[in-house]
């Protein structure tokens, strides 16, 4: 008994294990708590969490590229778009109006993997000529790719529906579904349940399961010869090559794996929203996901996940709700006059907060980065890189060695 408790204690001392445990438990109880608190009207909040899950998936994938292999990718949303459009085209009536005049409806579970492979293929295609570039140059090329892809989708009218995009995309179908009191129904098994906007809990469960699977696989990668080679390339490309690492191939692999995760997320996104158009994959998405990785802790999987959750919450829940919350707060403490407009140009406190929300967002980000430059939950190596002056090594400093 003691040994068992001891081993749990030892594990809890590792911040990563703790983070995984907390996230898993939170993911399991979140829908129940939300439904309980809102008295069964929490579907919107559960759906919001499913959307957050998409960004968590994106952050995990980008973390492989930026955090593990050290390749700055500013066009990550391109692969997200490729995954979403791939699913949209092969799982809707879109192709009926395309030159082949025949709609294709591939089931979600297969199409999701098609999205994954197509995105990985484009990752390799983009990476092959460009990964010889280092640092800033690579960032600029990926930036270009991120701009080109949505524009191609917008202008390829016959195949992608142009500016309107693709709509009425097939929802995923689950072969068996367990009903129960948690959704306000009696116990029972449904067959071939379609997941639609009326069943956001279904999407939530699917994304949680997908994230768990991806986390396990990416963890395996990190603790393999590939993970070591990525870390080596990130630290010193020349030394890695001298140690037998084919640096171009290994970077290409990081790129393709990052792209495939993004493609996976894109397919899910298309299925959940049921509509895909090129405006959804702008530069701001690439930057948001990059911020999630940096803010959470580059190179650390649970760090990137936490970064994804925190930033998503701030961007899509905290800031949109802030004006009303602030307005009702001042009302309740007797300062309601602040909410009234005033002929001198004061728009009311709620509206003022609404206008300032991106300044607030910027301040939050700057604040976190000042307070924790290594990220919320950094990898061990990164933590030490950033604090190395405080923990001097025994060896002579580099500049004295040569």
């Amino acid at each position: 008994m003691n040994g068992f408790v001891g081993s749990i204690r030892a594990r809890l001392r590792s911040p990563n294990a703790t983070a995984y445990a907390v996230m898993l438990i939170a993911a399991l109880v979140y829908p129940e708590i939300v439904q309980f608190v809102t008295g069964g009207n929490g579907d919107a909040l559960v759906g919001l969490a499913a959307d957050a899950g998409i960004f968590v998936l994106l952050a995990i994938g980008l973390n492989v590229v930026v955090g593990f292999a050290g390749l700055l990718d500013l066009g990550y949303a391109a692969f997200f778009a490729i995954g979403a459009y791939t699913y949209a085209i092969i799982a809707s009536d879109e192709l009926a109006t395309a030159p082949i005049h025949h709609a294709v409806h591939i089931p979600f579970w297969i199409a999701m993997f098609v999205g994954l492979f197509v995105a990985a293929g484009f990752g390799a295609l983009l990476g092959a000529p460009t990964l010889r570039l280092r640092g800033d140059y690579l960032a600029i090329v990926t930036l270009g790719f991120g701009e080109i892809v949505p524009r191609v989708f917008r202008n390829l009218n016959v195949w992608t529906g142009g500016v309107f995009g693709v709509s009425a995309i097939d929802p995923p179908t689950v072969p068996r579904w367990l009903d129960g009191p948690w959704a306000g129904d009696p116990f029972g098994i449904q067959q071939d349940l379609q997941l639609t906007s009326a069943n956001l809990t279904g999407f939530y469960i699917v994304i949680v399961v997908v994230i768990i699977g991806v986390v396990i696989l990416v963890n395996n990668l990190e603790r393999s010869r590939l993970g070591r080679a990525w870390m080596a390339v990130r630290e010193d490309e020349t030394a890695a090559a001298a140690t037998g690492v084919n640096t171009v191939n290994i970077k290409l692999l990081a790129f393709a794996i990052g792209a495939s995760t993004s493609g996976f997320a894109g397919a899910f996104y298309g299925a959940k929203l049921s509509v895909v158009n090129s405006d959804q994959f702008s530069f701001i998405i690439s930057i948001t996901v990059l911020s999630m990785v940096v803010l959470g802790g580059m190179g650390n999987i649970p760090g990137a996940m936490i970064g994804g959750l925190v930033l998503y919450f701030i961007l899509y829940k905290f800031l949109p709700d802030a004006p009303n919350q602030v307005a009702s707060l001042v009302q309740s403490i007797g300062l309601g006059w602040l909410n009234n407009t005033n002929p001198n140009g004061w728009p009311g406190l709620g509206e003022e907060v609404n206008r300032l929300k991106y300044i607030i967002f910027g301040l939050i980000i700057v604040g976190i980065m000042l307070y924790r430059p290594q990220g919320l939950l950094p990898s061990r190596a990164r933590r030490q890189e950033l604090t190395s002056e405080e923990v001097p090594g025994i060896g002579a400093p580099r500049e004295l060695q040569s």
């Binding site: 696989l217 080679a229 020349t238 030394a239 001298a242 140690t243 037998g244 030490q384």
Partner: protein
């Protein structure tokens, strides 16, 4: 005649108008310690870089173990069986001592992406095996107790030894050491010479650049002297030491 493992013929490397290595030829025999010496800026490290694929030679050929490896990429020369260390140590500072050595096995491992993704039994077995062999190498250089420390926390001499262990993990036939004794105390130099002898006993040929004459004369069978990119002398230690052009290159012309 002994078997040659490395044949460099007419090797020339130009950087714009500068000729860093000028028409240098030599043979390295299997099982010997071969030394490349010369004043600073003579082109020794450039020659190393040409042999290991970091630079493509402007002219000339490099034959290793019967194959023409001229202009191959670094990871290809490693695969062919050439390992190297660097003049200014290049370890992966934030990786552990053990991981530095395990990375050395990278080019010899056969696990594919799928093996890594799904932790197949093959991958687990291979990881366990190279971990075991990496520990052997750490014992060989006397660093087994530091396995979980980050490489940057090692003392300077230990870092040099770790770099040698990492190079040996690539299972080379030829090991290129770029100034392995630089900055060493006399005792550390003796230890290094012993280590080189032990490396030789593992059927690895050693090709080194070194400034310390006592080390060079003490362990090498054959020495090539470079000055301003040109080969000015070649032969055994005694021969090279007596060569007037070598003395001139190191000490300058007598008035």
């Amino acid at each position: 005649m002994a078997d040659t493992i490395l044949t460099v013929t007419g090797l020339t490397k130009r950087f714009g108008g500068l000729v860093a290595v000028d028409n240098v030829s030599f043979d390295v025999n299997v099982g010997e310690v071969f030394a490349l010496i010369g004043p600073n800026g003579a082109g020794k490290t450039t020659l190393f870089n040409c042999v290991t694929g970091f630079f493509a030679p402007s002219l000339g050929t490099v034959i290793f173990d019967g194959n023409d490896i001229t202009g191959r990429k670094p990871h290809q020369t490693v695969k062919a069986g050439i390992a190297r260390t660097f003049q200014n140590i290049r370890l992966f500072d934030y990786m552990t001592v053990l991981d530095n050595v395990r990375l050395g096995f990278h080019s010899r491992m056969r696990s594919q992406v799928w093996d890594s993704l799904f932790k197949t039994p093959f991958e687990r077995h291979e990881e366990a095996e190279i971990t075991e062999r990496a520990m052997e190498l750490l014992r060989f250089v006397g660093l087994e107790r530091r396995r979980d420390d980050q490489a940057r926390n090692l003392a300077y001499g230990q870092q040099r030894r770790l770099e040698i262990a990492r190079a040996m993990a690539t299972q080379p036939k030829l090991l290129l050491l770029d100034e392995p004794a630089a900055g060493f105390t006399p005792q550390e130099k003796v230890d290094l010479m012993n280590l080189v002898h032990q490396i030789l006993s593992k059927d690895i040929t050693v090709f080194l650049i070194e400034h310390d004459m006592r080390v060079v004369m003490g362990i090498s069978q054959k020495i090539v002297v470079l000055d301003h990119g040109e080969k000015i002398a070649e032969g055994g230690p005694a021969e090279v030491r007596a060569n007037p052009r070598v003395i001139e290159a190191y000490l300058g012309k007598s008035a």
